[in-house]
């Protein structure tokens, strides 16, 4: 096994120097998770319950940047989840929440080091988070639609098991 392969794990990064705080990422995240993935107007005007944006934009002018789930290598939310609804795909490393099993105990919110899991009170209250737009295929909506290329997807280098075992990937 190659000892430091580049994983097929990807992560979204923000460049705050060029984030213009337009929040189009939020708009397109909402659309991407609505029932009208290709029609912004309908997504906003017709969706009975418009989904939450899973990216959050932090801003204190002039600084701003978008932030969404980091899909951690050691996902605290997954390990803290009391129902097993929060799971990580072993290959892609993408962390998703099975909202049908989530009971809204907010333990993931307690655990997430990035504070990027939102409480969704529509319907049965559940945790809402970035799913990397997997069912969209291609790059995530927020990245694709950032007008100033302030969001980008990059591959994550992970160490293979043997190595991390020696290193002792402590839970910290």
């Amino acid at each position: 096994m190659d000892n430091n392969k580049v994983s097929n794990r990807k992560r979204i990064y923000a460049k705050e120097e060029v984030c213009i705080g337009c929040r189009l990422c939020e708009v397109h995240c909402v659309v991407a998770h609505s029932q009208y993935k290709n029609d912004i107007v309908k997504a906003y005007k017709k969706s009975p319950q418009r989904p939450l944006s899973r990216i959050l934009v932090e801003e204190t002018r002039p600084v701003s940047f978008g932030l969404q789930c980091r899909h951690c290598d050691d996902p605290k939310c997954v390990k803290a989840c009391i129902t097993g609804a929060m799971q990580q795909d072993p290959d892609t490393g993408i962390v998703t929440n099975d909202e049908s099993r989530c009971i809204g105990c907010w333990t993931c919110i307690l655990a997430c080091p990035y504070g990027v899991i939102k409480r969704d009170f529509k319907g049965r209250k559940v945790a809402s988070k970035c799913d990397f737009c997997i069912d969209l295929g291609g790059s995530p909506a927020c990245v694709k639609n950032c007008p100033n290329e302030a969001l980008y997807v990059d591959e994550v280098r992970v160490l293979n098991n043997e190595e991390s075992k020696e290193k002792g990937g402590t839970a910290k």
């Binding site: 120097e17 060029v18 984030c19 213009i20 705080g21 337009c22 929040r23 189009l24 939020e26 708009v27 397109h28 912004i40 107007v41 906003y44 005007k45 002018r61 002039p62 639609n145 007008p147 100033n148 290329e149 302030a150």
Partner: protein, 500 residues
């Protein structure tokens, strides 16, 4: 407070069926023409504040916005036009000089559009740039009368030359008048494409020294940011005498634009107005210019060509002859359509002459005097496309300066409000909320695209004329024919009429 006569210039149309109240427009408009009404729970606009920069239109995710000229009509009057009347209202209200930005927008004739290019048919072949080499490399700088060659070697070195891969340079725009990101973008594009950009009178920001060999550092009447390190950092030095947009007028950078970095780079106190005097107070005559030219050559040990930039004015030919004889290696002529970050409207719109005529006159004059090879001629002042460049070179230019085209490439939408410092495209502003809107990575890509596109077009046009090296076009006015021009114009341009 008495009644304000000013009325809206534009109407903002918001298609309510498409607007999703996402407030992107609200967040993007530095003029606050859009706002969110919490009570009504919807986005509204105050079109009085709109400058029609298209920022909101371009970013609106649902294309719900459009902007039109305001319909308010004055009674038709060929003499007292809307502009004429509104200007009176403005000045009656403020008592001040009218300010504007970018280049002369009056409907004067555009001579580029009255010249047509030649192409080969039968008697000689046109050349296909896709199959044959097509050369655009250009050298700027003083050329000796003749070369001395001894046993296969160059006996005397050439005077310093600027080597350009394409005969295009980004002309002077100072850090201060435009944002550091804008400067960075042009600097890096110049660096990657083997051309030059120009610091203007803004000094050289520490982050940009690494682009030195693609930099022309400017020395203007305010001497802002000038020191030995600065002079030696660039590939050439340009003495700015005048600017096409405001001949005879100095520069004025309002204190609001002089933030920390600008003040550091210009070496002036933060927040203080940066005022460049109308003349250089050490140049009241041609012999003074000669002294400055050689002072700068001394300061840089004769390693850098010295350029002198002037505005195209009435007796430009004689002036340029003087500049050449004063020891300049490059003369930059800036036509009356040249852009500016801020100029008095009346000056911009009424002073100076078209660069096409100035260029032709200067080239002819220098050739008549047999000194054309002693200087290179760079022309600027609204070079809008590759055809303009080809025509300029055929008239006698060695290379062109582009600025407005570069700004458009980076996002400028010609709203002409540069002087307000509220450029929504992050170009003509120092407001950190706005400057970050210009992402240098994107701008470099776009500028490079423009250069590539224009190079391809120039090569196609050259090939069509049966020419495979740009120098064979320089001053080759046989390749031009005039259309809809008077004999006088043709005579000044030194070209025949179409059909002759």
């Amino acid at each position: 407070m008495s009644l304000d006569y000013s009325t809206s210039e534009f109407t903002i149309n918001r298609d309510k069926d498409r607007c999703i109240d996402c407030q992107v427009c609200v967040r993007q408009c530095a003029n606050e023409a859009h706002y969110y009404d919490d009570e009504e729970q919807k986005v509204c606009s105050d079109e009085h504040k709109c400058v029609n920069c298209h920022r909101c239109v371009t970013l609106c995710p649902t294309r719900a916005l459009s902007i039109k000229k305001h319909e308010l009509e004055f009674r038709a009057n060929a003499n007292w036009t809307e502009n004429a009347i509104k200007d009176i209202y403005k000045q009656a209200a403020t008592g001040g000089i009218l300010l504007t930005g970018m280049g002369n927008d009056r409907p004067y004739p555009i001579y580029w559009d009255h010249m047509l290019l030649n192409a080969s048919q039968v008697t000689n072949p046109s050349i296909d740039p896709l199959r044959e080499p097509m050369e655009l490399k250009t050298f700027l700088g003083r050329k000796p009368e003749s070369l001395k060659v001894e046993n296969g070697k160059l006996a005397e070195k050439l005077p310093p030359q600027l080597e350009l891969e394409i005969p295009i340079m980004f002309s002077a725009m100072s850090f201060g008048s435009i944002s550091l990101n804008a400067c960075k973008s042009m600097a890096q594009t110049a660096y990657e494409n083997g051309i030059m950009y120009n610091t203007g009178e803004g000094g050289l920001h520490r982050d940009l020294y690494k682009y030195g060999r693609n930099t022309i550092v400017q020395v203007a009447s305010g001497r802002f940011g000038v020191h030995p390190g600065y002079l030696n950092a660039g590939a050439a030095i340009e003495i700015k005498i005048g600017q096409g947009a405001k001949p005879g007028i100095g520069g004025h950078l309002p204190g609001e634009k002089v933030e920390a970095e600008v003040s550091l780079t210009r070496m002036i106190p933060q927040g203080s107005d940066a005022i460049s005097p109308a003349p250089h107070h050490d140049i009241y005559s041609i012999e003074d210019l000669r002294q400055l030219i050689f002072a700068l050559k001394e300061a840089t040990n004769y390693t850098k060509p010295i350029s002198v930039k002037i505005a195209a004015v009435h007796n430009v030919a004689a002036i340029c002859s003087g500049i050449a004889r004063a020891g300049a290696d490059i003369i930059a002529i800036d036509g009356y359509r040249g852009g500016t970050g801020a100029a008095p409207t009346r000056i911009r719109d009424n002073v100076g002459i078209p660069v096409e005529l100035a260029l032709a006159a200067v080239d002819t004059r220098l050739r008549d005097e047999g000194i054309r090879n002693q200087v290179s001629i760079v022309c600027g002042g609204s070079v809008r496309n590759s055809a303009d460049i080809i025509k300029a070179i055929a008239l006698g230019a060695d290379a062109v300066y582009i600025a407005s085209s570069a700004l458009l490439t980076m996002g400028c939408h010609m709203c002409q409000k540069c002087y307000t410092g509220k450029c929504n495209w992050g170009i003509a502003t120092q407001d950190p909320n706005l400057t970050k809107r210009l992402n240098p990575e994107i701008a470099v890509k776009r500028l490079t695209n423009l250069l590539h596109a224009w190079s391809h077009e120039m090569k196609e046009m050259l090939g069509g004329m049966g020419i495979n090296a740009i120098e064979s076009l320089r001053g080759n006015r046989h390749m031009l024919r005039g259309i809809g021009l008077s004999d006088r114009d043709l005579n000044i341009l030194g070209i025949k009429a179409a059909g002759e």
